[in-house]
């Protein structure tokens, strides 16, 4: 565990010694503030003219602060994560490869898994710092409109934002093991994350297929694999074990893949 801590603190320091951490933290906070403000303005506009979501002349759903400001905000921030996370993780292994410092790590008496874990935790820590200020937006809403707001979807939506960031970080870390070029690692990270984020969009066009007598529900499979779908479900305010398990599995899977990738790089 000491080596995990050594690598964790080295990586964290290197985020804060370079402009990376400051750019990421300010950039994300500024953008989320702007998105919140836009959401608020839009809400004021639509509530001035209409009572709710209409089909024909019938109002089928009334406007609510959580459904029409905060949940869309969380959703937008989850898309922003697709760019921010690989920007944070791209250097983790690519830089070590470029500078050949990977040779120091791989000839030290430490497990590869500890290297992977230390680096991952540093990225996850920075992401946690990045997402904490987001809490001010639901706080503002709850402060001014406390009793009218259903806090369940907000809490779970916020949790989903953290879980998505951690899962995407594991993917970004894996992308970083594939190249010694940080730009390449960044783009690979974005592509990998986008696939997982949006694979659910393919569900409606897929069907159940029969494969050697097995019933394979392709549409359900892609939906269950999609990060976006699990995210959306959490924002309805229902806590399902399967959603939590999904994020945990993603993290474990991509950390294991990173470990394997670093190990196999040893073979030359």
């Amino acid at each position: 565990m000491r080596t995990v801590r050594a690598i964790f603190s080295r990586e964290l320091k290197s985020y804060f010694f370079s402009p990376t951490a400051y750019v990421v933290l300010t950039g994300f906070t500024a953008l989320s503030g702007w998105l919140f403000y836009q959401g608020l303005e839009r809400f004021i506009r639509i509530t001035n003219y209409t009572q709710g979501y209409k089909v024909g002349d019938q109002v089928v759903r009334e406007w609510t602060l959580e459904d029409d400001i905060l949940i869309p905000l969380f959703k937008n921030l989850s898309i922003l994560l697709l760019i921010m996370v690989p920007a944070i993780t791209m250097r983790l292994f690519a830089e070590e490869k470029k500078l050949k410092t990977i040779e120091l790590l791989l000839t030290s008496p430490i497990r590869t898994s500890h290297i992977v874990l230390g680096k991952y935790l540093a990225a996850a820590f920075l992401l946690t710092l990045m997402l904490l200020p987001v809490a001010m937006f639901p706080t503002i809403i709850l402060y001014y409109a406390g009793s009218n707001v259903d806090s369940g979807p907000l809490l779970l939506g916020y949790l989903a934002l953290f879980l998505s960031a951690y899962a995407l970080a594991a993917m970004g870390l894996f992308a970083s093991t594939l190249s010694e070029n940080q730009i390449v690692a960044f783009i690979l990270g974005v592509v990998l994350e986008l696939i997982f984020f949006s694979i659910g969009l393919a569900a409606p066009s897929l069907d159940v297929v029969h494969f050697f007598g097995w019933r394979v529900p392709l549409n359900e499979i892609v939906r269950d694999l999609s990060l976006g779908n699990h995210f959306d479900f959490m924002t309805t305010g229902l806590l399902r074990l399967s959603d939590l398990l999904y994020f945990c599995c993603l993290i474990v899977f991509w950390l294991a893949a990173s470990n394997h990738s670093v190990e196999s790089a040893r073979w030359g």
Binding site: S18, E103, L104, L105, T107, P109, I110, G268
Partner: protein, 247 residues
């Protein structure tokens, strides 16, 4: 101390080293001599557990590197050809980090760090960031990094490459001062270096050992350059003499 048996390494289809066999006794300084691309770095990387061998066995102080890499890595200080330095760290904080990676107990770190800083002549540079150091000081930091956990075995890959003559002389003196307390394998393509620092030379060419003898024996019938050329005979002379010319 180091036993190498039938060591063979392929990179895909390409044969890098073929059936190497040698032993290095405790306290010996062995020069690993050969032209660029002869398999020196590959062999060193296998000994340090950086990459696995395709066939054969490497043992350091009785530990097999394939079975127990961490036991071997605790005994080895390794300086790769490009010293693995983080340019954003100061010499001091870099050495502290390496000490933690090598598993030194936290309260012993300052003592070990100060010892190698002094030994490698880095006292005045300890609070400088590595990115601002000259090539010579970077090389010293690379050597300090290899020595931090006071390992009985040192593997130095081209320790004097890219240095000016004064710096080369300093690094050689440093290596000679380590003799006796450490078993050292150092690689070089400079023949002269071996006569100055080593007791024994292993001549490697195209992944095979062509000669393995004491420097005294190798230089008995003329200088080492002739012995080297004789041992790699039949190969295009231009490449070999080109390397020798740098001495």
């Amino acid at each position: 101390m180091i036993e190498i048996e039938h060591l063979t390494k392929y990179y895909g289809e390409i044969l890098a080293v073929q059936d190497l066999n040698f032993r290095v006794a405790e306290g010996e300084i062995v020069g690993f001599l050969g032209p660029n691309g002869s398999g020196k770095t590959t062999t060193m990387r296998i000994i340090t557990g950086y990459m696995p061998a395709s066939r054969g066995r490497v043992r350091v102080a009785g530990h097999d590197v394939a079975e127990d890499p961490r036991a071997v890595q605790r005994l080895i200080g390794y300086m790769p050809e490009n010293p693995p330095l983080y340019h954003d760290l100061t010499v001091k904080s870099y050495l502290d980090y390496v000490a933690r990676l090598k598993g030194l107990p936290e309260k012993e770190i300052p003592e070990h760090r100060d010892r190698v800083i002094e030994r490698c002549g880095l006292t005045e540079m300890r609070d400088r960031s590595i990115g601002k150091l000259s090539k010579g000081y970077r090389q010293r930091t690379g050597l300090a990094q290899a020595l931090i956990h006071n390992p009985p075995v040192l593997i130095l890959d081209e320790p004097t490459i890219g240095l000016d003559p004064k710096q080369i002389a300093e690094v050689r003196t440093m290596i000679r001062n380590l003799a006796g307390s450490h078993t050292i394998i150092l690689s070089t393509h400079i023949l002269h270096e071996v006569t100055l620092t080593c007791q024994r030379a292993i001549i490697i060419h195209r992944g095979e050992i062509r000669g393995d003898d004491t420097v005294a024996n190798l230089t008995r019938e003329g200088d080492l350059e002739h012995a080297f050329l004789r041992l790699v005979e039949g190969e295009p002379a231009a490449a070999v003499s080109g390397e020798g010319g740098q001495a």
